[in-house]
Symmetry: C2
Subunit: 507 residues, 2 copies
């Protein structure tokens, strides 16, 4: 087995190895430690877990300079974005601390005993409880916010589960640094030492998902990678929930009136959204529907010029770099696809590529043009009013879809919404899909192949993935969790069918 | 293909065939109709769906005599229980109507635009939306409450999805009658005609689950049956959620003090719970932990006598009848298992069996004794304080576990709770697991192999299985669902992180 090292995407230089691949025995030892920790960590009062999440955020902030420098070296992502990503990572840890403190996520529900149409009803008290050790697969494209200290990790920890992270092979040194910071937060907070763990290497990831003590898996990555993990889960003695965020085209539709009214604004917003983070965001708009005719031509022209002037972008690793070039070779071989623009030349080092803009007529679409491309490129589909329906039917489901339209196009907007809603988890109007705010109402998920679950990996309800319902029937007070005792009035609860605010909240 | 007929379990007579197995073409046609109906039915206002559910309950009530008589003929279940089951079935349809009207199940959440630590946040409005056509597999043991008009059907309909039921082969005529009543309710309510559908035959069930337009499957049945359906789902192009309620042992633990204090009461409650509905309830206590020593002996003795006096019971069908006899032949061949009691002799006709009570010492348990038995039998495990831990570790997960203990045994109860909670979805104290109340706090589910999901098939939150989150970002008011418009104040919503009651509800 080769030691775990990374390549600097900008220079192409290999860094010193930071870790050996984790052996099967070591994976088993780490998971066993997490399993032994699970009941201890789950039994902590909620405010101990929220304090731990806030300490984690503080410790990450304190190591900002080291984190950003190392992340830049391993991922090639500009430092300004990495600084923003670290801010987001700390924010989401603190946000989940707030979610834990608020307590509504527990769905605490009490039915007092009493007569019912089916006879006397018992005392039933329901709330959500932690699942146990969660495996989290770090993503390449968010080395912080969807990696070791990222959203899956903090939502699983918030829900009361130990986490074992599979470090992404593109940034092992950063993963180790972040893990060490998490361990410091564990120690400073006094939570059990097995609450976080980490493994390195592809086989260790396989061993992790196959381990009987792992109770759920959070994954952000490719459709192929997700399917490989799903196959492992299917062959386990006990299947477990798998939450995969896998693949997304994120169609964006511009109406003729919007093209007429806001060509410059849309072109700029769109090209920024396609090229930000080198086009390696899961919500990048990958296919753009632009009407044929003069307004559409002007918009496409503007987009074309912006792409031509776009600098070469550095991709995260060799695999993504090779896939980008292969996909464009494949697209170039399709007779119906024409190249509209290419950005500035890519340097002959590291993992640089030129931004690309392609075009196809809606009537000529076969579906072969509609593959997710990780990198700074997009396919423009030119449509006539009568050809867009069939084109939209060829779209696979996505995390998002976006409509750019004018205020007086209500009927058209409703029609487009009706077509796009079944395909997505988020429908955006006159904005852009990239930039996923961590908040109470956020949802980051969509029908297969965008994700494989009815759950979100971003936003407050992400904790729901790592919880299961449990009911205590006719239980003596002393065995009930604090949140289900009569006198606990500090969280929202549903009592005898009626939702009740905490006593301290004014409505 | 043979026509679909049923056998009267009491007489052994075959009824006249009521249907042909549904052909692949017909399954495809029925699913296509459901798929075409899905957006129409989902777009109905909530009060149209709740009115439909209430009409369904009214129509079922109106046909009570016919339903009970036919159900009795096809299932052998006593009419008194069938009357109760019909009452429950109507109650749960009306209960889900209340859940729909209340609207909290939508999880409506609004984040208004504003500054955030990550820059300006957009207007985000989230709620749960229907998935599309749901396949429901009727169960043999609840020919009403978990069958054509049962909990999966009404929770999927409540959530806004058309339903296609696979009729259970044990009660095809009853399935058809109930389906016709549902169709009448559809017509009287004016909901779209494709909102309900039905198919007959094993292959039709396979075709149904494999059909690309089916968006989720609800199943109550055997572990083998569930696994076969899960294999089909795994091989679909798009995997869909499968909610299987599969297998459950429902351990019940009696402490020495409880045996001393309440031997008669516990014996009576327990034997009633083991033999009610011929022991064919998924929450039947199948393994009973009784302490060794005088108190335990007295309790076991009392149980033994009650079982000996128990009448023969009629099982639902030939498959269950054969499985009961085979399982007891297997158990009888295990040297560590002794027969404690057998109930009254079974008549040599239909699907009658004698109740059975078996015993094994905790130290001798291998796990081979711990198989779910559908029918009126239970295994008593005699334990010493030092042997119960290892015995509990051999238990597979279940829907429920039950502890019978006395008030002054707080420490022991906490220890037993801690061991049993990870294994179950509902933990019961000094009551019995059978009799699952349909209510807000109810949960009917548990870790694999009890179920394969983090969701319930009974109680208000059962609707969550057939919904997915959707977010509208910066959407014009006219495309928003009514529930997400600013002025909609009649349902609970979370606005800017704060849970808000409907204006009409006083806290």
């Amino acid at each position: 087995m080769t030691a775990v090292a990374s390549i600097n995407p900008i220079t192409g230089e290999t860094t010193a190895a930071v870790a050996e691949p984790t052996s099967p025995d070591e994976v088993a030892r780490i998971v066993a430690r997490a399993a032994a920790t699970a009941p201890l960590y789950a039994a902590l009062p909620r405010n101990a877990r929220s304090a731990f999440l806030r300490t984690m955020a503080d410790e990450l902030e304190a190591a900002r300079d080291d984190i950003v420098a190392l992340a830049h070296r391993e991922t090639g992502i500009p430092e300004v974005r990495l600084n923003g990503e670290l801010t987001r990572t700390c924010y989401q840890a603190r946000f989940f601390a707030d979610v834990v403190d608020e307590g509504g996520y527990l769905e605490a529900t009490i039915d007092n005993p009493g007569d019912t149409p089916m006879g006397p009803g018992p005392d039933l008290r329901r709330m959500l409880v932690p699942l146990g050790p969660v495996a989290v697969f770090g993503a390449s494209n968010f080395p912080l916010a969807f990696s070791v200290p990222g959203g899956d990790t903090v939502s699983a920890l918030a829900a009361g589960n130990p986490v074992v992270v599979k470090a992404h092979g593109s940034h092992p040194a950063l993963s180790l640094l972040c893990y060490d910071i998490l361990v410091t937060a564990v120690q400073k907070s006094g939570v059990p030492s097995g609450t976080v763990g980490i493994v390195f290497g592809t086989q260790a990831g396989v061993d992790l998902v196959a381990h009987p003590a792992i109770r759920a898996v959070g994954f952000t990555g490719s459709l192929n990678g997700g399917q490989a993990l799903m196959d492992i889960i299917t062959s386990r003695d006990e299947p477990i929930p798998f939450y995969g965020e896998l693949s997304s085209l994120n169609p964006l539709v511009v109406t003729d009136q919007a093209a007429a009214a806001r060509a410059d604004e849309i072109a700029e917003g769109l090209v920024a959204s396609v090229t930000v983070s080198a086009g390696q965001l899961c919500t990048k708009p990958g296919v753009i529907f632009v009407p044929r005719g003069g307004h559409g031509d002007a918009l496409v022209n503007r987009i074309r010029h912006l792409v031509q002037d776009s600098p070469a972008a550095v991709l995260l690793n060799g695999r993504i770099h090779a896939a980008y070039n292969e996909l464009h070779a494949d697209l170039g071989a399709l007779p119906q696809v024409t190249s509209l623009a290419q950005g500035l030349d890519a340097p002959e080092k590291g993992f640089f590529v030129s931004p690309r803009l392609l075009e196809v007529q809606a009537e000529d679409l076969t579906g072969a043009e509609l593959n997710e491309c990780f990198g700074p490129s997009a396919v423009v589909v030119r449509y006539a009013p009568e050809s867009i329906d069939r084109a939209l039917e060829l779209l696979p489901s996505s995390l998002t879809a976006t409509i750019h339209a004018e205020d007086d196009e209500a009927e058209l907007v409703e029609e487009l919404s009706g077509r796009l809603l079944p395909l997505v988890g988020r429908l955006i109007f006159n904005q852009y899909p990239t930039g996923v705010l961590v908040s109470w109402a956020q949802h980051h998920g969509g029908p297969w192949p965008a994700t494989n679950a009815l759950h979100t990996s971003v936003g407050a309800t992400a904790v729901r993935r790592f919880l299961r319902p449990l009911v205590w029937q006719n239980a003596p007070r002393h065995v009930l969790p604090e949140e289900l005792r009569d006198e606990a009035g500090d969280i929202p609860r549903r009592v005898d069918g009626q939702l009740r605010q905490p006593a301290s909240v004014s409505v």
